[in-house]
């Protein structure tokens, strides 16, 4: 009886390993397939035309235009297609909130 159960247990582990491997392969296939599809959709030759005369506003809602441009470029580099709200702040409280959230997020005794 015990030997039978040991064999059953090992068989269960074997099945678990095989199915987990299968799931991992499925994940890999999905990721590779979608990444290739995304690459194909990127236009190879982007036609460029000279930019027309345009002048950036110097300030937008109290935020200097060159700050806005730098933030937009950084956000676009990390992840495109996001709308980011840029707001002028009076102090640096937002950094302390961010820091405290980040540091306390790993507190296992919370």
């Amino acid at each position: 009886m015990l030997q039978q159960v040991i064999m059953k247990s090992l068989y269960a582990y074997f099945l678990l390993a095989v199915i987990s491997l299968f799931v991992a392969v499925v994940i890999k296939v999905i990721v590779v397939f979608f990444n290739r599809a995304a690459e194909k959709n990127v236009p190879r030759d982007i036609e460029t035309s000279p930019a027309g005369p345009y002048s950036l506003p110097t300030m937008t809602y109290g935020v200097p235009a060159h700050h806005v441009a730098a933030i937009v470029a950084a956000v676009h580099y990390v992840t495109s297609g996001r709308i980011v709200r840029i707001d002028g702040g009076d102090d640096h409280n937002w950094t302390s909130i961010g820091r405290s959230q980040h540091l306390s997020s790993h507190d296992t005794r919370r």
């Binding site: 247990s9 099945l15 678990l16 199915i19 987990s20 799931v23 991992a24 499925v26 979608f34 296992t108």
Partner: protein
């Protein structure tokens, strides 16, 4: 004082359980054990044992072997009695309509699913799944061990799932495999999940030298896994696993439904799952488990065996995960932090946090949380697969 005269052992056990309930509330409040479960569970345990201590016999005081309490009767089977009890015991409807059919486990799973970011798994599927499989070692070892010490096969299999460190999964497995002792199995499981907070850091110190604990993992660039990819993975995995293991299909559906709602951007459903359903189900899970800890119910001779098997399963699973981490450590030329293997034990997100905390203690700049969450979430999937395999192999008990 009739309780002390008629059943002194039960009366003493009730006093002990009243005290234990208070201790659980204290440990929950201090953060040693999970407060969301332990506070309602501890108070329920104390209240039910105090409530039945001096109940007159005219109120049908529970006897040893009788599973009834003042609040609910978990194993009532006769239809007429059930209808009567449903109208008398206020927690009976919750128990009948959510516990005995496994719904509460599925509700918790929906909530957990809505909190899981499968992107962590999708970035490194082979590593994550490998570590999660290694961290199931406790289940595999304890199942035959349970049979060896005299438990019925179903009970041994259900108890061994404690090694997966997944509370709802243990509840579901014990309902399917050993419904007559599912109460002690589930109570033992939830008590021992606290070990992952308290005990695992010591195990890490024992098995992993300090300089290895602090090995930094390379910082990864922002993920290119899109919500669409995650949705495709969720749908395919759910269909495949339901196809392979119809007996555990409710669990797979629940967890993947949570993931799908999150990735589909259904914010209202996501809020419903991750707040109302998860916390509501966790509250009633804790409360009903506490109520079920009445002395006459919990004083089962097999409880001591379950206690030993539970702690053995969790310990061996953690050792298995760390060993898996060591395999990758050598495979990657000693550039891989083996603590990530510990997070393969699927207590989400506790094990990942414990691994990160231990790594940061050795090297404050060491960040292994993303990799740890990957193996942690894989652990949820492998635990569900293993529970389904065991239920399929051992065979569910027909109610």
């Amino acid at each position: 004082m009739s309780s002390f005269h008629n059943q002194p052992d039960i009366a003493i056990a009730r006093i002990f359980l009243i005290g234990l309930g208070c201790v659980l509330i204290y440990l929950g409040h201090k953060g040693v054990l999970e407060p969301l479960l332990m506070v309602p569970m501890g108070l329920g345990m104390s209240a039910v044992n105090a409530g039945v201590m001096f109940v007159p016999s005219s109120m049908n005081l529970p006897q040893q072997g009788d599973k009834g309490t003042l609040f609910l009767n978990p194993l009532i089977s006769e239809g007429e009695k059930l209808i009567y009890i449903l109208q008398v015991d206020y927690l009976q409807p919750i128990y009948i309509f959510t516990f005995s059919n496994g719904l509460i486990a599925c509700l918790v799973f929906m909530g957990i699913g809505s909190l899981l970011d499968v992107g962590y798994v999708m970035r490194r599927p082979f590593e994550s799944m490998f570590l999660a499989v290694c961290a199931e070692l406790g289940t595999i070892v304890v199942y035959p061990l349970g049979v060896a010490i005299g438990l019925p096969e179903g009970a041994a299999a259900a108890t061994s799932t404690i090694g997966g460190a997944d509370g709802p999964m243990v509840l579901f497995s014990s309902l399917m495999l050993a419904p007559d002792i599912f109460v002690p199995i589930t109570v033992v499981a939830y008590l021992y999940l606290g070990l992952t907070y308290g005990g695992y850091p010591y195990l890490i110190k024992l098995l992993v030298p300090k300089h290895i604990r602090g090995i930094p993992m390379p910082i990864e660039r922002a993920s290119n896994i899109t919500p669409g990819q995650k949705m495709v993975f969720t749908i395919i995995s759910c269909i495949l696993l339901c196809l392979l293991f119809p007996v555990a299909a409710p669990l797979f559906l629940s967890v993947f439904l949570g993931v799908l709602v999150r990735e589909a951007g259904l914010k209202d459903f996501h809020n419903l799952f991750s707040n109302t359903i998860l916390y509501g189900a966790t509250f009633f899970l804790g409360l009903v488990l506490g109520i079920l800890c009445e002395a006459a119910t919990i004083m089962n001779p097999v409880v001591f065996q379950l206690l030993i098997l539970g702690v053995t399963a969790l310990t061996i699973s953690a050792i298995g995960g760390i060993l898996g981490g060591y395999v990758l450590y050598f495979y990657y030329g000693k550039q891989y932090n083996p603590l990530i293997g510990l997070a393969g034990v699927s207590c989400v997100p506790t094990c990942a946090k414990v691994a990160q905390k231990s790594a940061a203690e050795s090297n404050p700049e060491c960040m292994i949380l993303p990799q740890s969450l990957g193996s942690n979430i894989s652990g949820v999937i492998t635990t569900a697969i293993l529970a389904a395999v065991l239920i399929a192999l051992v065979g569910p008990v027909k109610g």
